[in-house]
C-alpha cells in the first residue's frame, strides 16, 4: 500500500465495461508501455466479439478471413462441444499478427479482464510481432490480411468453377503436408496481392488461350504436337529441380506432372499460410512469456499509480496466476510445460538478474548480470531470439531450482526411464540444453525431404526421411499422408527411412503398395 505514492484518479469503477472506459484504459496502458517499457508496436485495432464469434475464429486457425474447408467445421464442432460441456473455457482474447494489429476481446470479460487483455495482447504480443527477428524475416504483417482475402476468394472461385469436391481433394492433400511446407533457410518471397492477382490471371488466361487454340483451330496437329510439347516441358522442369528439397508442398507445386494451374495455386496458398505460422511455432514460450510479462508489469504499474482499485488488482492477479499455473509432472492436471509459465518466469528472472544478481548469476551471465537495465536486456532478447536459443542462453540455475526441472530419457528398447539430470551443479547444463532442444522445431519435426524425381521416365518421386535418434513415424498417418502425396504427384511416390548416424535403411514404403486413397 505504501508504494502507492502519487495517487491518480481511478480509470474505472464498475466491473462492466464500456467503450469510454476502454479507451481511457488504453491510453493509460499506452503511456506506461511507451515511456517505461519502451515498447514499439503496430497501430492497434481492438474488436469486441461474442463467444460464438470467438469459436468461429478458433476454428479457422485464428485468422479473421479464411477459405472454407470441412476440417474447420470439424474443429468448430469439436470446440463448441467442449465449450458447451464446460470442459474448455474460451481464451479471453485472440491477437493477429497483422498491421494494424487486430485484437479480439470477448464481450463477456469484465472491465478488469479487458484491461489485462489489452495490456497482454495489444501491447505484449503486438510488440513481439513487430520486433522479433523471425516475424520480421518470415512474415509480412502488412500484407497478410489482404492475402487471406485473396486466398478466400480464389478458393471460392475455384469451387464454383471446378466443383467443391475437386477443390476439397487438393486442400485435403495439401493440409496433410503443411508441416513440411516451410522454407527453413530461404527467405520467403514478399506477398503483394496486386502482383499475385495479376500473376494468376495471366497464368490462367494463358492456359485458357492455349487450351482453346489446341481445341478449336488445330485439333489434329495439336494432338500430334502435344506429347512433344509435354516432353520438352518435362525436360525443362527436370533440369530446374534442385535436390534435396525440404519444402515438399513447394516441390509438388513446382514440379508435379499432373497438377493444373489452379491446383498449384491452392498448394501455394496453403504453403504461404504454413510459412506465416512458422515463426509462431518457434516462439511460443517467448511470445506468451513476453505478453504475460508485459501485462504483469503494466497492471502493477497501474495499481502503483492508483489508477486501478484493489478489487480490480485482485481479479487481475487471480487471472494471472491461473494463466501461469504449472502443475508438477506427477499431478493429474499436468499436460506438459506451460509456455506462459516458463516464459514469464524466465523474463522475471532476467529482471532479477539485472537488478539484484547473486554471485552465481554473475558467474553464469557475466554480460548482463547487475547491469541494471532489465528493460533493455529484455527488449534485446525479445528481438533476437527464438524459444530454443532463448532458453539455451537465459535459463538460469536459480530458475531450474525454483521450478525443480529434471530431464528424463526414454529409450524404446529400455523398459526404464532414466533421470539424466536434476537441479544440481552437475545437471544445470544438461537440463538447459535438453529443454532448449525440445523447443527446436527442426529437431521435433520429422525430417522428410524430396531427393529425386524422374520426370522423363517413370515419374517416380522419391522422398527420404532422415531418422534422428531412431524416432520413426506413426504408420497409419504416414500411409495416409503418402496417399495424399501420390494424389498431388499423380505417380508413384516412395519414402525411405534412413538412420542419420548409420545410413542404414530402416523402412521403405511406396504408394503403389498402399493403393489409391479411397
Amino acid at each position: 500500500m505504501e508504494k502507492r505514492s502519487k495517487s491518480l484518479p481511478l480509470l474505472f469503477t464498475s466491473s462492466d465495461w464500456n467503450f469510454d472506459d476502454l479507451s481511457r484504459v488504453y491510453d493509460a496502458i499506452r503511456e506506461i508501455a511507451v515511456t517505461e517499457l519502451r515498447l514499439d508496436f503496430y497501430p492497434n485495432q481492438i474488436e469486441v466479439i461474442s463467444s460464438e464469434q470467438m469459436l468461429d475464429a478458433y476454428s479457422s486457425i485464428g485468422m479473421p478471413l479464411m477459405y472454407q474447408h470441412w476440417s474447420f467445421g470439424k474443429h468448430f464442432v469439436h470446440e463448441s462441444n467442449l465449450y458447451r460441456k464446460g470442459r474448455m473455457g474460451l481464451a479471453y482474447e485472440l491477437v493477429i499478427n497483422s498491421n494494424p494489429c487486430i485484437t479480439y476481446l470477448m464481450e463477456e470479460n469484465t472491465m478488469a479482464l479487458q484491461t489485462l487483455v489489452i495490456a497482454h495482447a495489444s501491447f505484449g504480443h503486438n510488440h513481439f510481432f513487430k520486433n522479433n527477428y523471425l516475424f520480421q524475416q518470415w512474415t509480412d504483417a502488412g500484407a497478410i490480411l489482404s492475402y487471406m482475402e485473396f486466398a478466400k476468394s480464389f478458393i471460392a472461385r475455384c469451387e464454383e468453377r471446378y466443383g467443391p469436391a475437386a477443390v476439397e481433394a487438393v486442400l485435403d492433400a495439401s493440409h496433410a503436408l503443411m508441416p513440411q511446407a516451410v522454407f527453413r533457410y530461404r527467405r520467403r518471397p514478399r506477398l503483394s496481392v496486386e502482383r499475385e492477382r495479376a500473376r494468376i490471371r495471366e497464368r490462367l488466361e494463358h492456359e485458357e488461350r492455349t487450351f482453346s487454340d489446341l481445341w478449336r483451330t488445330l485439333p489434329l496437329a495439336a494432338e500430334a504436337e502435344a506429347p512433344r510439347e509435354v516432353e520438352t516441358d518435362m525436360a525443362e522442369r527436370q533440369s530446374a529441380i534442385e535436390y534435396p528439397e525440404e519444402n515438399l508442398l513447394y516441390f509438388l507445386e513446382k514440379y508435379s506432372p499432373v497438377l493444373k494451374a489452379w491446383q498449384r495455386e491452392i498448394l501455394r496458398i496453403v504453403r504461404v499460410i504454413a510459412q506465416y505460422f512458422y515463426p509462431q511455432r518457434q516462439t511460443k514460450v517467448m511470445n506468451e512469456g513476453c505478453a504475460t510479462f508485459v501485462h504483469y508489469t503494466i497492471m502493477n504499474r497501474l495499481y502503483d499509480k492508483g489508477q486501478i482499485s484493489e478489487g480490480t488488482m485482485l481479479e487481475v492477479l487471480q487471472n494471472h496466476s491461473n494463466v501461469v499455473f504449472q502443475p508438477h509432472f506427477d499431478d493429474p492436471r499436468y499436460g506438459g510445460l506451460n509456455p506462459y509459465t516458463l516464459g514469464f518466469n524466465m523474463m522475471r528472472d532476467i529482471q532479477r538478474i539485472c537488478t539484484e544478481p547473486t554471485a552465481e548469476d554473475r558467474d553464469w551471465f557475466p554480460d548482463f548480470a547487475g547491469n541494471g537495465d532489465w528493460c533493455g536486456t529484455l527488449l534485446d532478447a525479445w528481438a533476437t531470439h527464438r524459444d530454443e536459443s532463448f532458453i539455451r542462453q537465459f535459463l538460469s540455475p536459480a530458475l531450474i531450482r525454483d521450478m525443480r526441472l529434471f530431464s528424463l530419457q526414454e529409450e524404446s528398447s529400455d523398459p526404464y526411464y532414466e533421470v539424466t539430470a536434476i537441479h544440481d551443479e552437475r545437471g544445470y547444463e544438461r537440463v538447459r540444453s535438453s529443454l532448449a532442444n525440445s523447443y527446436d522445431v527442426g529437431m521435433t519435426q520429422p525430417d522428410i525431404q524430396a531427393v529425386g524425381a524422374d520426370l522423363k521416365g517413370d515419374r517416380k518421386l522419391r522422398l527420404k526421411h532422415t531418422v534422428h535418434n531412431g524416432a520413426t513415424l506413426v504408420e497409419e498417418t504416414r500411409n495416409e499422408t503418402m496417399r495424399y502425396i501420390q494424389r498431388l504427384w499423380g505417380h508413384e511416390v516412395s519414402l525411405v527411412g534412413v538412420d542419420a548416424q548409420t545410413d542404414k535403411v530402416l523402412y521403405e514404403v511406396s504408394s503403389k503398395e498402399l493403393g489409391e486413397k479411397a
Partner: protein, 438 residues
C-alpha cells in the same frame, strides 16, 4: 488512439459453410449410425434429436507424425521431488498408461459427438425413400384459407381491437389537442382551495382566485370536449385470408390380433407402423391414424388397445377390409385425403376368405388407396422356407394376384427386427420396380 470496433452485431455463423462441408463429409458415417440405431430397435427415438458419435474414419487429418515411444528422446519435466541423477523408473507397459495419449488416434471417439436435429436425422434416415405415386397429392390439393395478420384497419370486429395501436393514436391526439391532464386540474383546484381557505383574502388574492376559477372552468371544459378515447382513435387488427395448400393423409393400420399373433409378431408389426407413420408425418401437414384390429370380426380401436389388449377368436381378414371401407366412407372421403394402408398379419385366414379379400381390394379399396402395404410376419425358422415369393400362406398367395394387378400394392415378409428397415426401404425405394400392368 486505438481503433475500437464492435463486432458483436456481425453475422455469427461465419463457419456455417464449414459445418455444411463437414456434414457432407461425414454423411455416410452419420447415415450408417442412424440406420444402425433404427435396426437395433430404437425406432421411437427416430423422431427425436440424435446424438451421434462420429468415428474418425474419413474425417482424419493425417500428417507425418513422430511415433510415440520410438527411439530415444529426452524430456524436461517440472516438479522433481525425490529423483537423483541416474535414477531408473520403470516404464508403464504400453497401453496401460494414461488414456490421453496424444498419439495417432488423437482424442477418443467420445469426444467427437455430433448433435443432429430431428430434421437432419430424419432427412438422413429417409434420404433415399420416396412416397410412391404422388400424383394424386397434386390433384387433391384442396386449398383452405388461413387468416394472416395484415396491418390495421379503421373498422372491424370489437374482438379484434388493437389496444396498443388505439392507445397510441389516442395519446398522440391528446398531446396534439393539449387535453388538460388531471394533475393540472388538481393543481389549480388545490391552489384555489388554499386561497379560499384564507380568512381575510387581500385584493390580489381575490383577483387571483377569480383567475383561477376561470382557468379551472376552462380546463374542465376542455377535458370534457376532448375525450380520452375518440372513435377515430380506434384501430382493429386486420386479417387477410391466405391460401394454404392442404395435404392430408390418413394411415390405416390393420392387424390380425387373433391368438396366432404373439408378442413378437405384434412388436414387429408395431415397428413397421411407427416407421410408416414417421414417414408420412414428414410429407403431410396432417396425418391421421386409424387402428383396425380383427379376429373373426373387426373394429376400430385406439392405439393402446390395438397393440396391447388381447382378444381371442378366429381369423377372418375380410372383416378388417370391410371395416376400413366403412371408415373411409364415413370420415375420409378419398377426394380430400391421401389414404395409406398397412396390413400386418401372420398370414392365417379361414379358408375361402382370402378370395373375398382379393375381391374387396380389387373392386373398391385399391381404387381409393394411394398405397397399400402388406407385411407378413413369419417365424425366423420359416424364413428359409418362404424365401421364394411363390411359397406362402393362403393370404400371401391370394394377395399375389392383387400385387400383380395393382402397382400401388406391395407385399413383403418380415422375420426379425433387423429386416424391418430394409423392407421398408425396399417398399418405398425412390426408383420403383418397373411399372406393373395397371
Amino acid at each position: 488512439m486505438p481503433n475500437f470496433i464492435d463486432r458483436r452485431l456481425n453475422p455469427k455463423d461465419k463457419s456455417l459453410g464449414n459445418r455444411q462441408r463437414f456434414l457432407r463429409r461425414a454423411r455416410d458415417e452419420l447415415k450408417r449410425a442412424i440406420n444402425e440405431r433404427v435396426r437395433s430397435g430404437k425406432i421411437d427415438a427416430v423422431g427425436e434429436d440424435q446424438v451421434i458419435p462420429i468415428p474418425r474414419k474419413g474425417i482424419g487429418e493425417p500428417t507425418f507424425q513422430r511415433a510415440p515411444h520410438s527411439g530415444r528422446r529426452e524430456e524436461v519435466l517440472p516438479g522433481n521431488k525425490t529423483f537423483g541423477t541416474g535414477d531408473r523408473i520403470p516404464r508403464p507397459a504400453a497401453g496401460s498408461g494414461k488414456g490421453s495419449d496424444p498419439s495417432s488416434s488423437g482424442e477418443g471417439e467420445d469426444d467427437f459427438q455430433f448433435v443432429l436435429s430431428r430434421e437432419e436425422a430424419l432427412d438422413l434416415f429417409f434420404e433415399d425413400l420416396e412416397l410412391p405415386d404422388l400424383v394424386k397429392l397434386n390433384l387433391k390439393e384442396v386449398v383452405t384459407f388461413r387468416p394472416r395478420r395484415a396491418g390495421f384497419t379503421m373498422s372491424g370486429n370489437p374482438t379484434s381491437i388493437s389496444v396498443g395501436r388505439t392507445m397510441f393514436n389516442s395519446f398522440g391526439r391528446r398531446i396534439a389537442l393539449r387535453r388538460p391532464k388531471q394533475a393540472e386540474i388538481d393543481a389549480v383546484a388545490a391552489e384555489l382551495a388554499k386561497l379560499e381557505g384564507e380568512r381575510r383574502p387581500s385584493a390580489a388574492t381575490q383577483q387571483r382566485m377569480v383567475a383561477l376559477r376561470e382557468e379551472l372552468a376552462t380546463l374542465v371544459r376542455r377535458r370534457k370536449l376532448i375525450p380520452y378515447i375518440d372513435p377515430i382513435d380506434i384501430r382493429f387488427n386486420r386479417f387477410e385470408p391466405q391460401p394454404v395448400p392442404n395435404a392430408n393423409a390418413v394411415m390405416f393400420c390393420l392387424m390380425d390380433v387373433s391368438g396366432s399373433m404373439g408378442e413378437r409378431e405384434k412388436d414387429l408389426a408395431k415397428r413397421f407402423f411407427v416407421l410408416l407413420h414417421l414417414f408420412l408425418k414428414r410429407r403431410y401437414a396432417k396425418t391421421d391414424i386409424v387402428f383396425i384390429r380383427h379376429t373373426h370380426e373387426a373394429s376400430e380401436v385406439d392405439e393402446d388397445t390395438f397393440f396391447y389388449s388381447t382378444q381371442s377368436g378366429g381369423t377372418v381378414v375380410s372383416t378388417a377390409l370391410e371395416e376400413m371401407l366403412r371408415v373411409i366412407r364415413e370420415r375420409y372421403p378419398a377426394k380430400e385425403w391421401n389414404i395409406y394402408a398397412a396390413q400386418a398379419s401372420d398370414g392365417d385366414n379361414i379358408p375361402n376368405d382370402s378370395e373375398r379379400c382379393v375381391s374387396i381390394l380389387d373392386k373398391t379399396l385399391m381404387q381409393l388407396c394411394q398405397y397399400y402395404a402388406y407385411v407378413e410376419i413369419i417365424d425366423e425358422r420359416e424364413s428359409e422356407m418362404f424365401r421364394h415369393a411363390d411359397n406362402g400362406t393362403s393370404l400371401w398367395n391370394a394377395y399375389r394376384e392383387v400385387s400383380a394387378e395393382w402397382p400401388n400394392f406391395e407385399m413383403t415378409r418380415i422375420a426379425k427386427p433387423s429386416d424391418i428397415y430394409p423392407v421398408f426401404h425396399e417398399l418405398f425405394a425412390k426408383a420403383p420396380a418397373p411399372a406393373k400392368r395397371r
